[in-house]
Structure formats: structure tokens, C-alpha cells
């Protein structure tokens, strides 16, 4: 499970400034920092008041507060880079074995 930190308005962070609450959340497994930090995680029983005044209460809610298309682009780039890094590592490994 990925540990994220939520602030007073339930925005997610990847590091704690000392005021945040740590939450373990499977939703953010294998997600890059940019993706994570574009989301809110409202715990069960808490109430979120959106900037336009809409109120969300009830159970645990995970939803983006930044444009999802930007977050998805960042996540795709992260996954592409991870794959490239893995392929490079494999090439080096195989190149080492062949020597």
C-alpha cells in the first residue's frame, strides 16, 4: 500500500510537512508523485466543501482536484520512463552476461 499525506482540505501529498495525516491507500500504488498530488482523499466520516460550495460527506472519497487529463499524461510518462529504465537495465544485464 502506498502511504500518502492529506492536508486540511484533503489534498494528497507525497511528503509530510508535519501537519498532515498519513494514510495508506491502495488506489495510489504505482502512481507517480504528480498524479498523487493532483488528488484529494476524503476519509470516511469527514466532510469536504468544494470551492463552489458543494458539500461531500459520507464514505471515503478519492477524486482529482486537478485536471485528470494532465494527471493521466504525467502518469503515462512516468510509466514510459519506468519501462525504458527497465529495458535499459535488462540490456546492460544481458550485455554483461554475453561478455
Amino acid at each position: 500500500m502506498k502511504t500518502v499525506y492529506i492536508d486540511s482540505v484533503f489534498k494528497c501529498h507525497t511528503s509530510n510537512d508535519g501537519t498532515m495525516i498519513a494514510v495508506e491507500e491502495e488506489f495510489f500504488n504505482n502512481k507517480c508523485d504528480i498524479f498523487i498530488e493532483g488528488f484529494r482523499l476524503k476519509p470516511e466520516g469527514e466532510t469536504l466543501v468544494r470551492e463552489d460550495g458543494a458539500v461531500f460527506s459520507g464514505g471515503k472519497m478519492i477524486t482529482p482536484w486537478k485536471s485528470i487529463s494532465e494527471l493521466e499524461d504525467a502518469q503515462r510518462e512516468y510509466e514510459r520512463q519506468k519501462l525504458a529504465d527497465a529495458e535499459n537495465a535488462l540490456a546492460i544485464l544481458l550485455g554483461g552476461e554475453s561478455e
Partner: protein, 248 residues
């Protein structure tokens, strides 16, 4: 289609726009057919129907965002030549558009502006393409006459996930809402780019969990989500019913 009126009478229009300071006052009124009621305490200086945000709004302007589906569609002209599909209302306050609540009086009743994705047995095929399900061996989704029912026999891989066959365009909507009856586990209402069963964290973009048991309304914030996604519900050890699902 852009419509811009600043009031005035006389009139080929088949509707009217009125403002009310509260929902209580709106519902106490009994106006004529196709009255659009806007709940606001900010003076409405003008109104416009448009599929895109007006570029040079004046303070107080009410923008009725239009789409191609609406539960309160109406003919704007008395000669029935201009069908309008309002989906959302916003008012220019300060320096930006903010959501305001609108309802339309039709058939002697006030109707909230919603796009239904499932309504008491109606799968709303025009927008959803119908509903389907991915169930584990221990879970079952039943599409009953008036509700969706998800149950388990307690065996392994006991999940049930009913969802829309089509991806639904959620742009311009700020809430996804489901009315359910929760009897056991935490049912999740979700949006996902792909539906694969139960754990969809690779493709899910938003979710809200039911709290406690009993009848409840799940309201998921989708204001920052644009584009098309499958909409559905899922639970491990499912025991829930779905009565209505809509966007507003």
C-alpha cells in the same frame, strides 16, 4: 446554439426564466410550463444558452450550459422548431462562473437538472449503451425490473461490478450520484477508463465508498474530470441494490 436575451416581453418563446432566492420559494411557486427557475441571491442581469462558456460575460449573467441530452429538454419556440437540452446553470459572480441550482417546471412539477444513467430499471441506453457486469465466480449481478441487485454466495472471488457498456462523457458535470441500498460490504461508485473486475486501481480515476448500511446516496465529486469513462459500482462480498444513477 447561442441564445441571448435580457428580458422584454412579447414573444415567440416557449419558456421563461425566473430567479428565486431559495429552493423553498421556488417550490412554493406554481409557474407555467417550461419555466426555468434559478436559485440565486445575485441579480440576474441576462441569461444565455450555450454549449461553450461565454467569452465576455457581464456580472450577473446566467449561463445555461447545453448538451445533447437532458431530462428537462424543451422546445424554445412556440412553433416547436428549436429543441434545447439544458444540463447545467452557472452565474457570473465576481470574476468567474459559479454553479447555481436550476430546476424546470414541467407537467406541473419542478424537475432538477440531471442526466440519468440508470433510473429504476431503465438502463438509459441512449447514453450508456446499456449496463453489463463483470462478476467473480462468487458474485452475481441481477438486472431486475426496477433495480440492479448484487449478491454473493460467499465463495472465493466474490465480487460484482455492474457498469455502463459505453464510456460516458462526464465533461460539464460536477457530481455523479447513486442511490443504493447497502446491506453488507462497502460498495464503491466509480469512474474508470477500463473495467476489469474488482481491483481497478490502474484504470479508476475517482471513487466513493458507501458508509454504514441502509439506503443512502453516494455523491462523487467529478468537477475536475473531463472526457469519457465507464461508470459503475463494485463491491467485494457484495450485497447491495442500485436504484438510480445520474450526473448533475
Amino acid at each position: 446554439m447561442i441564445f441571448n436575451m435580457t428580458g422584454g416581453g412579447g414573444n415567440p418563446l416557449n419558456f421563461q426564466v425566473k430567479t428565486y432566492p431559495s429552493e423553498t420559494e421556488l417550490k412554493a411557486d406554481n409557474p407555467k410550463e417550461n419555466t426555468i427557475g434559478v436559485i440565486t441571491t445575485t441579480t440576474m442581469t441576462s441569461w444565455v444558452f450555450s454549449a461553450t462558456e461565454p467569452k465576455e460575460p457581464e456580472v450577473g449573467m446566467v449561463w445555461f450550459n447545453t448538451g445533447n441530452l437532458s431530462n428537462v429538454e424543451f422546445n424554445a419556440l412556440k412553433k416547436n422548431t428549436l429543441q434545447v437540452y439544458p444540463i447545467k446553470a452557472k452565474q457570473y459572480v465576481g470574476d468567474k462562473f459559479v454553479d447555481v441550482t436550476s430546476m424546470t417546471s414541467q407537467g406541473g412539477e419542478w424537475h432538477s437538472w440531471r442526466v440519468y444513467l440508470y433510473k429504476a430499471g431503465d438502463q438509459c441506453n441512449d447514453i450508456t449503451g446499456g449496463w453489463t457486469a463483470i462478476d467473480g465466480p462468487g458474485g452475481t449481478t441481477n438486472f431486475n425490473a426496477t433495480y440492479i441487485n448484487c449478491v454473493t454466495d460467499g465463495s472465493n472471488d466474490r465480487y460484482a461490478t455492474p457498469y455502463t457498456k459505453n464510456k460516458v462523457n462526464v465533461t460539464n458535470y460536477s457530481k455523479l450520484i447513486a442511490e443504493i441500498l447497502e446491506r453488507d460490504a462497502e460498495t464503491n461508485l466509480f469512474l474508470a477508463s477500463a473495467v476489469t473486475g474488482y481491483n481497478m486501481y490502474g484504470s479508476m480515476v475517482a471513487t466513493i465508498e458507501a458508509s454504514d448500511k441502509g439506503s443512502q446516496t453516494l455523491e462523487l465529486d467529478i468537477a475536475s474530470i473531463t472526457g469519457e469513462y465507464h461508470i459503475g459500482l463494485t463491491a467485494y462480498t457484495p450485497d447491495f441494490d442500485v436504484m438510480n444513477v445520474w450526473m448533475e
